[in-house]
């Protein structure tokens, strides 16, 4: 069943992303728009976090390892009350706490710095090990890109997560099929990604990455004492017809006309 409230929220988060990126004339529209429902499944259906106490020790942790998708995360954090929505319009400006890539030293609600791809998944392994070490029950969610998993570090993280039986570790992959230089399979093919994670010792699930309920269900599905890998099938640039499945919209600013058109499609206001 489609939840109308969440569907409306998804639209507003997308329009916030577009406005943020239009105002700063830089940043990454494609991979922010593909990520919206994955992060919504976490923040609106799964996580134990408290915007009034973002550093609470027993909170669940999110590591947006594909850090360039942070406009989606910032829009959601603002909606949840971690900081005022007005802050979004200062993204990437010199006096803003919202950096081009997530910064735990500046932004409430950010658990780990990312931006250099591959590293977040490994920091998440450390967080998950530390939770076990402290005998605490919180969970760690690492969100990675499908280009990002070409980094050798991702597979070092996978090896360690399986070795230490980190059933509190969930990796969600935004499988939009594209990276900067084109389709993943053309740039550096990884073949059957889920089969690879299964071989590493993960419990694997495969879902429609724009279906919040399906993602949330996979997150709660049994992991049999293993770390979990959820392949979320998505569309890069989701919601804006001229951006959808186009590699060129990975990191391109919109001009005024494109912004108007994109906002009209999402159903947002193009006031700035």
């Amino acid at each position: 069943m489609v939840d109308d409230v969440l569907a409306a929220k998804a639209r507003r988060i997308r329009s916030d992303i577009l406005k943020m990126l239009y105002l700063c004339q830089s940043g990454h529209p494609g991979g922010s728009l593909s990520l919206v429902e994955i992060l919504m499944a976490l923040y609106y259906k799964t996580l134990k976090v408290d915007p009034a106490d973002p550093a609470k020790e027993d909170r669940d942790r999110v590591v947006l390892s594909k850090g360039h998708g942070c406009p989606a995360l910032y829009a959601i954090l603002a909606d949840q009350g971690f900081f005022p929505r007005e802050d979004l319009w200062r993204l990437r400006q010199i006096d803003s706490h919202l950096q081009g890539h997530p910064d735990m030293m500046k932004t409430p609600g950010i658990d780990v710095n990312t931006g250099s791809l591959g590293q977040g998944a490994s920091v998440a392994v450390g967080l998950a090990l530390a939770a076990k070490h402290k005998k605490m029950g919180y969970r760690i969610f690492a969100v990675v890109g499908d280009g990002e998993i070409q980094e050798g570090m991702i597979w070092e993280a996978a090896m360690a997560a399986a070795h230490y039986k980190l059933d509190n570790y969930v990796m969600l992959m935004d499988h939009n099929g594209l990276q900067i230089d084109g389709r993943n399979e053309a740039v550096m093919g990884l073949g059957d990604i889920s089969a690879k994670f299964r071989a590493f010792g993960f419990q694997c699930y495969d879902v429609d990455g724009h279906d919040i309920e399906a993602i949330a269900a996979a997150i709660e599905a049994p992991s049999e004492g293993k770390p979990k890998f959820i392949r979320c099938r998505t569309l890069k640039g989701k919601g804006v017809s001229f951006m959808e499945d186009v590699a060129g919209w990975h990191g391109k600013p919109m001009n005024a006309e494109e912004y108007k058109k994109a906002m009209a499609e999402i159903g947002g206001s193009d006031d700035v």
Partner: protein, 311 residues
């Protein structure tokens, strides 16, 4: 003066030209071909282009493999991920054995701007400078960028070419010599010498011009090769002016400023100040705002020169 151009476009064009006369040139990238502009080479010579995906460490060692087989690889990604993530691969598989690998690494320094501190390499020159066998070029304009690519091809061993992202007006002439290890004196003046590299050369020239109106004759030494450093030219300027100011879009630790200090130590009593990033990380912002924020504009160079002369 020819047109303004992004240094990465100049880099891409130079690779295409070099590829036409040297069949051994192969180009490697790590999912940034459309940012480093090696995509221009890929379009022209698809059978000599290899994309490694997001796998910088693998790309650098693979470059060593190409070099060991008689080819001349140019490996490109962002400066931070090349010199940083793949540092030890460069150190052991490439420099240690003097492998003939060139790295044209783009998006260096503060001028990446909005992407922020995670992407602004303020330490890449330092990292490469401490590696034996390494040559380091930091071109100041599109013309020098092209010359750096061709000069790199003449050197047998690893060469790092630092390629900044912004569009830069042309400051040098086609006929200006580009001799590795030989700095170019771009302005004469015997009160103070501004020793500059890369993007800061433009501001150094502007500062020199404005200082002239204030009665201070400032020479400008363009150090396009950080390693080997031109000790002779630096000591000559130290003797002629008695005061030097180094300026770089990089940490004052380990880059141009350190290289100049190493030359002066024990050899010169000249007064010396280092301008650059003062042992801090970068932040997000428009490049122009960042240069202002980190005290790296022509106005800042002027006050530093004046301050040094008064001291």
């Amino acid at each position: 003066m020819s047109e303004a151009k992004s240094l990465r476009v100049a880099y891409g064009e130079a690779l295409v030209e070099l590829g036409a006369i040297n069949a051994n040139v192969v180009v490697l990238d790590a999912d940034l071909a459309h940012a480093t502009m090696t995509s221009m080479f890929e379009a022209k010579y698809p059978d000599r282009f290899y994309n490694f995906g997001l796998a910088e460490a693998n790309m650098m060692c693979a470059a060593a493999g190409f070099a060991h087989s008689g080819l001349m690889p140019f490996a490109s990604t962002f400066a931070l991920f090349g010199t940083g993530r793949a540092y030890e691969q460069i150190r052991n598989s490439i420099a240690y054995v003097n492998a003939n690998v060139k790295f044209g690494l783009s998006h260096s320094g503060l001028s990446v701007g909005e992407d922020g501190g995670s992407h602004q390499s303020v330490e890449d020159i330092a990292l490469m400078r401490v590696v034996p066998n390494m040559t380091i070029f930091v071109p100041c304009d599109p013309v020098e960028t092209k010359k750096a690519v061709f000069a790199a091809a003449e050197i047998n061993g690893p060469v790092y070419i630092r390629v900044a992202r912004p569009v830069v007006e042309t400051l040098t002439e086609e006929s200006t010599p580009f001799v590795p290890g030989k700095a170019n004196l771009m302005r004469e003046g015997d009160h103070v010498c501004i020793v500059a590299t890369g993007l800061m050369v433009k501001d150094a020239l502007k500062a020199s011009e404005l200082l002239m109106a204030r009665g201070i004759k400032a020479s400008v030494l363009n150090v396009h090769t950080i390693k080997p450093i031109d000790a002779q030219a630096i000591l000559e300027r130290a003797g002629a002016c008695g005061a030097l100011v180094s300026v770089e879009e990089h940490s004052v630790i380990g880059g141009l400023g350190s290289a100049v200090a190493e030359v002066l130590a024990g050899n010169s009593a000249a007064r010396f100040a280092r301008m650059g990033i003062q042992d801090r990380f970068g932040i997000s912002g428009k490049p122009a705002d960042l240069f202002e924020h980190f005290d790296l504009t022509a106005a800042h160079i002027i006050s530093r020169c004046e301050g040094l002369l008064k001291a």
